[in-house]
């Protein structure tokens, strides 16, 4: 049985890879490839966010009886990242490399510190809290695309 921590952490690494590839192409001025890779990165990250917001977080809130705790903060950080996605999209549209790289630097840290909190605190708490129903939750998350 795989744990929430393992599967969701692997998902984070996948998003990191996509991010690094997009950034590399855009830094090299390859806007064609870069734009496609940027879109692919945003798509996989959005999918990951929805797995959490639509399945994991509500179940976590039920299991722990708290809707105002860590999940609230995680959702606020998703909102911050979505705002950065928008700004980055406009930099891609304008082919403004410096702006894109300034924003990607910012996004990278938000993303990494967000991942760290999830991987080291929230997912571990989720694994402890869910017990038997963890498999079922993982299965429902697979349904999100």
């Amino acid at each position: 049985m795989s744990s929430i921590t393992e599967i969701m952490t692997a998902d984070h690494r996948h998003c990191d890879d996509a991010f690094a590839q997009a950034e590399e192409q855009i830094a090299a001025g390859e806007w064609g490839k870069g734009t496609a890779l940027h879109q692919a990165f945003v798509t996989s990250t959005e999918q990951h966010f929805r797995k959490e917001e639509e399945v994991l977080f509500p179940k976590f809130e039920q299991a722990t009886g708290s809707a105002m705790g860590p999940t609230q903060v995680m959702k606020a950080e998703h909102a911050q990242m979505r705002q950065l996605f928008k700004d980055m999209q406009s930099a891609v549209d304008d082919q403004d490399k410096d702006r894109y790289l300034g924003l990607s630097e910012t996004l990278m840290i938000v993303m990494q510190q967000h991942n760290m909190k999830e991987e080291q605190i929230l997912y571990r708490m989720a694994d402890q809290a869910f017990g038997d129903i963890a498999d079922e939750i993982l299965h429902s998350m697979d349904g999100i695309n």
Partner: protein, 442 residues
């Protein structure tokens, strides 16, 4: 039962708390440069001279400890979900304690006035004491532990021992106590301060910060689990051997093991940087590389001295090892400041923007807060300062003077870069406030 109520992931302290430490540290860096300029080549003659002792404490307390404590207050809630209790009070007391205490300590070394020694003991003891109590409480409350948290606990303990030994030495200095072999106690104080507090904390924070800021693979699991504990145990064994048993051979052997452990960390970090996923240029890495090379150099010199009897005055090499270790620590901290300061400013502003729903004001990204050019220029100033100091030790003593000027200048530049970040933050923050106060239009 999981206490989620206690575990909010966002209890970050107000921005003014970490920033007062970040802004003060480079000013002590400037003081360090001026001290060298004033006392000249005396500071590189022996580690026991008053000016050298003053200089090392300006750097270790005024620069390193200043930033490390400020950053810990900021990072604890993020890394552990457990903030320092009464963070405003603790932040203010520690800041005042460090500023006044360090200044008094340095002046006491230079002038020998007892009243300054007592003042230093009071301010450093109380300020750092309050911080340690708060840190202890925060680390006890941690629900889910990790290698970084274990490392922080051990580093906190090392800081406690360093302060305790330092205070004892000050009591002895003021004539109330006598040690039979004071130099051994000074070495223990130095070992716990440099390897225990600075080394252990930087190592354990790197487990988080290196993958986070540079998107590298994780440090190997065994390393994260064991390295901090091994360092701590070796340090303990070394000080017992050194202080209680006067076993020089045993202590040297343990010290060799300790340096090999540090070397493993340095080599691993190099390898992680080579394997980083993010390929775009990252200028803060230059500081990291310089720092790793510095530690590597210090370890190589130490081992060479063990096996090959020094042809030159051995005290020069001891100073060289000390200088490399201090420069290495300063470089890593400089690099971390350049990530943390712009990021925090952005983070607080964007958080406000979203909370106010105020999208007509745009929040600047990190590179608007701090351009690559500003980082590169400061890096070169810093590096040339370091080179002058090292060459002054090896070749010509008069090179400490340009070294001192460059050291002061690079710290002034660091200060200016941080001030520019704060100014931009304040400007955008005011814009957001003004925009939010406008009556809503139809």
């Amino acid at each position: 039962m999981l206490g989620t109520a206690n575990l909010s992931l966002e209890q970050a302290p107000p921005l003014s708390i970490p920033f007062r430490f970040f802004l003060t540290a480079p000013l002590f860096g400037v003081v360090a440069g001026l001290l060298v300029l004033f006392y000249g080549s005396e500071v590189i003659t022996s580690r026991w001279l008053p000016a050298t002792l003053g200089l090392t404490h300006v750097i270790t307390l005024g620069f390193l400890t200043m930033v490390m404590c400020g950053a810990m207050m900021q990072m604890l809630p993020v890394l552990t979900g457990s903030p320092l209790p009464r963070v405003r009070f603790v932040g203010a007391s520690l800041h005042i304690g460090l500023v006044v205490g360090t200044s008094a300590l340095v002046l006491s070394f230079l002038t020998g006035f007892n009243v300054l020694t007592w003042m230093a003991m009071f301010f450093l003891g109380v300020g750092l004491g309050i911080f340690l109590v708060a840190l202890f409480v925060a680390l006890i409350r941690v629900k889910v532990t990790s290698a970084t948290i274990t490392g922080m606990r051990l580093a906190g303990f090392a800081l406690f021992l360093t302060i305790a030994l330092g205070l004892l030495l000050l009591v002895a200095r003021s004539g109330w106590l006598e040690f039979s072999q004071p130099r051994l106690w000074v070495d223990a104080h130095l070992g716990w301060g440099l390897v225990g507090w600075v080394g252990l904390l930087l190592v354990s924070v790197s487990y988080q910060v290196v993958p986070m800021f540079h998107v590298t693979p994780e440090y190997p699991g065994w390393m994260r689990g064991a390295l901090g504990k091994i360092l701590f145990i070796l340090l303990l064994a070394w000080s017992v051997g050194w202080l209680m048993l006067s076993q020089q051979m045993v202590s040297e052997f343990i010290l060799a093991l300790l340096l090999l452990v540090l070397l493993t960390f340095v080599v691993t970090t190099f390898r992680l940087f080579l394997k980083k996923k993010r390929k775009v240029r990252d200028v803060t890495l230059w500081f990291w590389r310089a720092s790793l090379i510095g530690v590597l150099g210090a370890v190589i010199i130490w081992f060479s001295l063990e096996f090959v009897p020094p042809t030159w005055d051995a005290s020069i090499w001891a100073l060289m090892i000390g200088a490399l270790a201090l420069f290495a620590a300063m470089a890593v901290i400089n690099a971390m400041l350049y990530k943390i300061a712009p990021f925090l400013s952005w983070f607080h502003l964007q958080h406000r923007q979203l909370a106010l729903g105020c999208f007509s004001v745009s929040v600047p990204h990190m590179k608007t807060f701090l351009s690559d050019r500003a980082v590169i220029s400061q890096f070169y100033l810093w590096l040339s300062g370091v080179m002058c100091f090292l060459l002054a030790l090896l070749l010509h003593r008069q090179l400490v003077y340009p070294g001192a000027i460059l050291m002061a200048a690079s710290n002034l530049y660091l200060f200016w870069n941080l001030v520019s970040i704060v100014r931009l933050y304040n400007k955008v923050n005011r814009q957001l406030t003004a925009e939010a106060a406008k009556p809503a239009r139809d």
